[in-house]
């Protein structure tokens, strides 16, 4: 990257999409943008599989009896839904797709620090995914995505080892991507791009990468322990051999609670970009938002015990974990305040990405507030392992994570594909998804407080009406996703050509053509202002090349 070639006037830059077409040029690419597309395609397939599983068991839950599925099939379906959605969609979604595509471009680099490692991470991810799918094809897994012992280690009569191996291997893929991002962000920023000129999306990816690197090895070890227990009968979790059945929960949640922030911090980064762009204003409290991501990442490691208030953990441990959990709420709540205050005296417009940011704010606020019900000790006793928890984490992880992902996907779709999507359809789908989501999950809060336990195949008849509402909402939600898939695919072929900067946004990614050339920029950009200089005119680098001013060469 040291000597960026100065483009001559007759160079018409080829985009990363159009320079080569062969299958090999995709499967052996080291271009972070193409790897992002590989991830986008694989994640879409996983999302469809996870969604299909949910659709089937939601239909089954229309009635209190088991009239569509057998218990075992039901258990395998909700396990598949959980494993696929968490390990193979939500955790990688924004980092692997948007992060891979954008991190180098946003910091003015040609690629990530370790391009080959980046490609390897996709192969490792696919290997993990195929193993997990193998477990499903060979008859499924019925442990739930949490793999609680001693059920998973001694009793479950299904393909636990294959599924665990899949999740274990996929974890390495996250670690590779996170490592790549950390090094890239530290070492490859364009000249002039100081830490406090960085887009908040980069701060979010940085914080997320730290959580991934610190947390994932722990879950990897934990999954290996299940393998050892099942295969060799070591007695790690078996009380008859002196093991501790609860040990697994401590280790598992030490990763899996921070994993919630792996899913949500990137989304917060995306929403910061969206709110700022569509309010035409620097984000209110930029520094706070940047540091709060790091704070959430750190505090997130000290709250795992709030999953275990009724697990036989001591009351004093419960007390401490409850106390610490409340502290995560503060940076989170102030971030919401910052997003709202950015609109104040802004110039707010409502393109599709902004609708998703609105959706995120609404759903994530509800998700966050209902988290208080679960961190409060007395109410958690009643609510733990009920549908209230199911509703809460769907509001956080789908309402927060997926709304952020879809908002970001729409925002950067013109940059990624070079095509515009149909705005009218996109707005319509965004509203359908928002309405469908609330119809699906809001009734579940009520179900939970009235005592409906989660992971129930059959249930008490008084709960039926709320289940019917939830299933009806799920069909609306599913329709919204399908509409979106339809116009996105349509736009690839028929969409209007996208200009370099369709939203008149700031930030380096908008300073290059849509889609970007293979090396992202024709010359190394020199940054003279921060990513949110909405009060200044855009520094248009495209399509002409700027010479690098003296003294700024790297």
């Amino acid at each position: 990257m040291s000597h960026a070639a100065l483009a001559t006037a007759d160079d018409t830059p080829k985009s990363y999409l159009s320079n080569r077409f062969s299958i090999q040029s995709w499967l052996f690419t080291v271009d972070h943008k193409r790897i992002a597309i590989l991830y986008l395609i694989s994640l879409t397939v996983f999302f469809l599989l996870g969604g299909a599983a949910a659709a089937i068991f939601r239909l089954d839950l229309m009635t209190p009896q088991a009239d569509l599925l057998q218990s075992e099939t039901y258990n395998k379906l909700f396990t598949m839904h959980g494993i696929v959605m968490i390990f193979f969609f939500l955790v990688p979604s924004i980092p692997a797709v948007l992060g891979n595509f954008l991190v180098p471009i946003m910091i003015g680099a040609k690629d990530v620090a370790f391009p080959k490692l980046n490609l390897l991470s996709w192969y490792v991810f696919m290997a993990g995914g195929l193993l997990a799918l193998g477990a499903i094809v060979r008859g499924g897994v019925d442990t739930g995505w949490t793999f609680y012992t001693p059920y998973s280690s001694m009793y479950a009569n299904s393909h636990v080892i294959l599924a665990v191996a899949g999740a274990f291997i996929a974890g390495f893929s996250s670690i590779m991507t996170a490592l790549n991002f950390i090094v890239t962000i530290h070492k490859m920023r364009a000249p002039g791009l100081t830490w406090f000129r960085l887009p908040l999306f980069i701060w979010a990816m940085y914080a997320t990468s730290l959580v991934v690197i610190l947390g994932t090895p722990v879950v990897a070890i934990t999954l290996v322990m299940i393998f050892i227990e099942r295969f060799f009968g070591f007695g790690l979790f078996d009380p008859a051999l002196g093991g501790d059945p609860v040990l697994f929960q401590h280790l598992f949640w030490f990763y899996s609670h921070p994993a919630v922030y792996i899913m949500i911090l990137p989304s917060m980064g995306v929403v910061s970009e969206l709110v700022s762009c569509f309010s035409r204003r620097r984000l209110y409290g930029y520094t706070f938002v940047a540091f709060s991501s790091l704070a959430i990442a750190v505090i997130g490691f000290f709250v795992w015990g709030h999953h275990m208030f009724v697990s036989s953990q001591s009351v004093y441990a419960g007390l401490i974990f409850s106390f610490l959990t409340f502290f995560v709420a503060i940076p989170t709540a102030i971030k919401i305040l910052n997003w709202i205050m950015t609109m104040y005296k802004g110039s707010v417009s409502f393109e599709t990405p902004m609708l998703y940011a609105y959706g995120f704010l609404g759903l994530f606020t509800i998700g966050g507030l209902t988290g208080l019900f679960l961190s409060t000790l007395a109410t958690d006793i009643h609510l733990h392992d009920t549908y209230f928890v199911v509703a809460h984490f769907h509001y956080v992880m789908v309402g927060g994570g997926v709304m952020g992902f879809l908002g970001g996907l729409h925002f950067w779709w013109p940059k990624i594909t070079g095509r515009m999507y149909p705005e009218g359809w996109a707005k319509f789908a965004a509203i359908v998804i928002f309405v469908g989501f609330n119809l699906t999950f809001f009734p579940q809060f009520q179900l939970g407080y009235h005592g409906m336990p989660r992971r129930y195949h059959t249930y008490a008849e008084e709960f039926q009406i709320l289940h019917v509402m939830s299933t009806a909402g799920a069909s609306v939600l599913g329709a919204g996703y399908l509409i979106m898939a339809g116009y996105m695919i349509w736009s690839l072929f028929k969409g209007k050509r996208a200009p370099a900067n369709p939203w008149d946004a700031r930030g380096l990614e908008w300073e290059t053509s849509s889609p970007p050339p293979t090396e992202n920029f024709l010359t190394t950009p020199v940054v003279t202002q921060e990513a949110y200089a909405y009060d200044k005119p855009s520094v248009t680098w495209v399509p002409t090349a700027h010479p690098i001013p003296e003294g700024h060469r790297v």
């Binding site: 218990s71 075992e72 258990n75 019925d142 001693p150 059920y151 009793y155 479950a156 009380p239 008859a240 059945p245 309010s279 209110y284 409290g285 208030f309 009724v310 036989s312 419960g318 007390l319 409850s322 106390f323 409340f326 502290f327 503060i330 709540a333 102030i334 305040l337 709202i340 205050m341 609109m343 005296k345 110039s347 417009s349 409502f350 704010l361 609404g362 606020t365 507030l369 208080l372 019900f373 409060t376 000790l377 007395a378 109410t379 006793i381 009643h382 392992d385 009235h450 005592g451 336990p453 992971r455 129930y456 059959t458 008490a460 008084e462 709960f463 009406i465 709320l466 909405y534 009060d535």
Partner: protein, 315 residues
């Protein structure tokens, strides 16, 4: 019976109103903040919407006063919640001394219960209203969780360990009992009903002709096992005391051979029966045979119940 469109489900224990009070407070602050956030977003969106020829917005000034004020207010609310939640939680975690003890064993996929007089039942629990009940629970296989929504109580039930749960039902009626820790294929079938009876009806039920025929009490069964298994040869003050005297040991501190101390609770007694070499009492040789595989979970509970009853005898 349980109208799911009412804000609160039926309250049938002394704990339920306390939990519900916190819940209502939480619902109130959630509704308030959700409406506040939604209101601000909508008002700002409309009031500051982009207009043709509008002015470029100014940069927000770097001033943390608003964040500090909001964070401070939030901190106060959170501390109130924490303190209030912890207070009720502590009350819910500590059974009163006079609680009536019922033994519970979870097993894929049923609850087995035994009353102080020895009466057993499966997936139904009959209890008297107005009397504190303590459940001492363990599992024969995987982790289960004992949950009575109308009482607002829940506690995981673990293999190899005893957990406790207590409640005091307030009114006679019929309430749902669930298992809430996923435990395998028929997880959703692992439940039944709690019948809260008037104390008089409960007494009648205990001796009634329905259900399993009256047997010996857990303490009597434990005593019989104690003799059958030969425990009394060593654990007897008059026998030369090869093993420690068990009278009055329950709930007291025991000094171990390695110099540490342990409280002789149910878990310690259970461990000492199954694996006596784990924690040898100071002054005794490690000579007790291992009873793992010889006694069942139910029998262990009875033995422990018997040893606990000896605690009373010493006073």
């Amino acid at each position: 019976m349980n109208n799911v469109f009412r804000l609160l489900p039926e309250q049938a224990s002394t704990l339920a109103p306390q939990v519900d009070a916190i819940y209502i407070f939480l619902v109130a602050i959630s509704v308030f903040f959700t409406l506040l956030a939604a209101g601000l977003v909508l008002v700002f969106g409309v009031r500051f919407r982009r207009r043709a020829g509008g002015v470029t917005p100014e940069r927000p000034h770097e001033d943390s006063r608003l964040e500090l004020a909001a964070g401070g207010l939030l901190l106060v609310i959170l501390l109130v919640l924490f303190g209030w939640g912890a207070k009720v939680y502590f009350a819910a975690a500590r059974p009163p001394a006079d609680a009536m003890e019922i033994l519970v064993t979870g097993k894929q996929w049923m609850w087995k219960l035994q009353h102080p007089n020895g009466k057993r039942e499966i997936n139904t629990l009959h209890i008297p209203a107005g009397k504190p009940i303590q459940l001492t629970m363990t599992s024969e296989d995987v982790i289960h969780s004992f949950y009575i929504p109308a009482f607002r109580v829940k506690q995981d039930v673990l293999p190899g360990r005893y957990t406790r749960l207590w409640f005091q039902a307030t009114k006679p009626g019929k309430y749902r009992l669930f298992c809430t820790e996923y435990c395998g294929t028929e997880h959703s079938m692992m439940g039944g009903w709690v019948y809260v009876l008037t104390p008089a009806d409960y007494e009648k039920w205990l001796v009634g002709q329905t259900g399993v025929a009256m047997t010996e009490t857990p303490v009597q069964a434990g005593e019989r096992l104690f003799v059958q298994l030969g425990c009394q040869t060593c654990h007897n003050p008059n026998s030369g005391a090869l093993g420690p005297n068990l009278v009055g040991v329950f709930g007291h501190t025991v000094r171990l051979a390695d110099g540490t101390e342990v409280i002789a609770d149910e878990d310690y007694l259970r461990e000492s029966i199954l694996n006596p070499q784990a924690k040898i009492v100071a002054g005794y040789a490690p000579v007790m045979p291992v009873f793992k595989g010889i006694v069942t979970e139910d029998q262990l509970m009875q033995l422990v119940a018997y040893i606990k009853s000896l605690a009373g005898a010493s006073n």
